[in-house]
Amino acid sequence: MIELSETAYKLNALGVASLEGRGMNGLTDQAVVKRVIGGELDAFSVLVDRYQNRIYSVALNYVPNRDDAVDVVQDTFVKAYTKLRTFDSSSAFYTWLYRIAVNTAIDFIRKRKARPADSLDDDKYTDSGFEPISKDPSVDPERVAVVTEQKQALRSAIGLLSEKLRTAMILHDVEGLSQEEVAEVLRVPVGTVKSRVSRARAELRYLLSKQLGEAL
């Protein structure tokens, strides 16, 4: 029996034709995984479409270069496809995918031997494609410049954190995952996540106060 999402049940209750004939967008992640394991390669596109933007967002916190981030996203999904048979369906697919994404991004950085902190003058931080410029005439350009500088300082400081603290902070404070979700992604106790996030925040406050020369 194929599991359907809540949306699919509602649509069926309204008499809408079964989603089976209209595609797999209403299926749960576990149901799609079953289909992919059964040999339907194109079913994997459903999972890619669902999570590629979130994985891309995570990747951009590790590799600010867009092309590199796309490479990380593709590597993540290819690895996920390879290891799909090892996925434990009792856990959430996206936390499993996040774990692969984080490890892939870290491996990518190690291979590229990227410096942990980049200069604020680095071109990739001033790339207009990375920081979209507002065309709204009511937006104060000076204010935008200040915010941009603060973001650059923040990213630079995050890059100075240790790998464990940086990952916990990115997943919890930047990407918005709960402490329980971060614990599941990193396979550590919730208390460890709390501790890492707390230490990361304290270190960031200290680093930013030194960089910006002002209390945060």
Binding site: F44, V48, S57, L60, V73, F77, K151, Q179, R205
Partner: protein, 160 residues
């Protein structure tokens, strides 16, 4: 509660994961301590800025690239089967297989039946002369030598 303990609890207070009693205790301390109040406010601002780093608006379309890598990269195929299709392994393997096939068919050919030697002919003379002292070991092991010797003796008797 002192400032050291308060400093450790501020992060959890902002995340609203403190139990009720600790939260009250911390709030009472912060109300009277400007340093801890400053740390609390800066932590809240920091978390707000961190959340703004999220690239939630960033969009990408990776399926085509992922699919191509899965299909043409033979993802999911055992490593040994992938290796067989690589030229660096396939070419030598083919060469070895061709050599083995050649040797098999060549060794399987039946040897030509030796033609009957006309005794006394120059062929034997040259054969015997070829068995010089440098080749006596080979002649000693040559299975034709007894036949040749017997023929020689027979010929010598016949001439007589």
């Amino acid at each position: 509660m002192n400032c050291e303990k308060a400093g450790r609890l501020i992060s959890e207070y902002v995340d609203d994961t403190l139990c009720a009693s600790l939260r009250r205790e911390l709030e009472n301390h912060i109300a009277e301590c400007s340093v801890c109040m400053s740390i609390l406010e800066s932590t809240k601002r920091l978390i707000g800025r961190l959340s703004s780093l999220s690239n939630s608006e960033a969009q990408v379309d990776c399926w085509a690239g992922v699919r191509e890598r899965i299909v043409w990269g033979q993802v999911g195929v055992p490593w040994w089967r992938r290796s067989l299709l690589k030229p660096v392994f396939a070419a030598p393997a083919f060469a070895i297989a061709a050599l083995l096939a050649f040797l098999f068919f060549w060794s399987g050919q039946t040897p030509e039946k030796p033609t009957q030697v006309v005794f006394g002919g120059s062929e034997y003379a040259s054969y015997i002369s070829a068995h010089s002292r440098y080749q006596r070991v080979q002649a000693f092991n040559d299975p034709d030598v007894p036949i040749i010797t017997a023929e020689l003796e027979k010929a010598s008797l016949t001439r007589e």
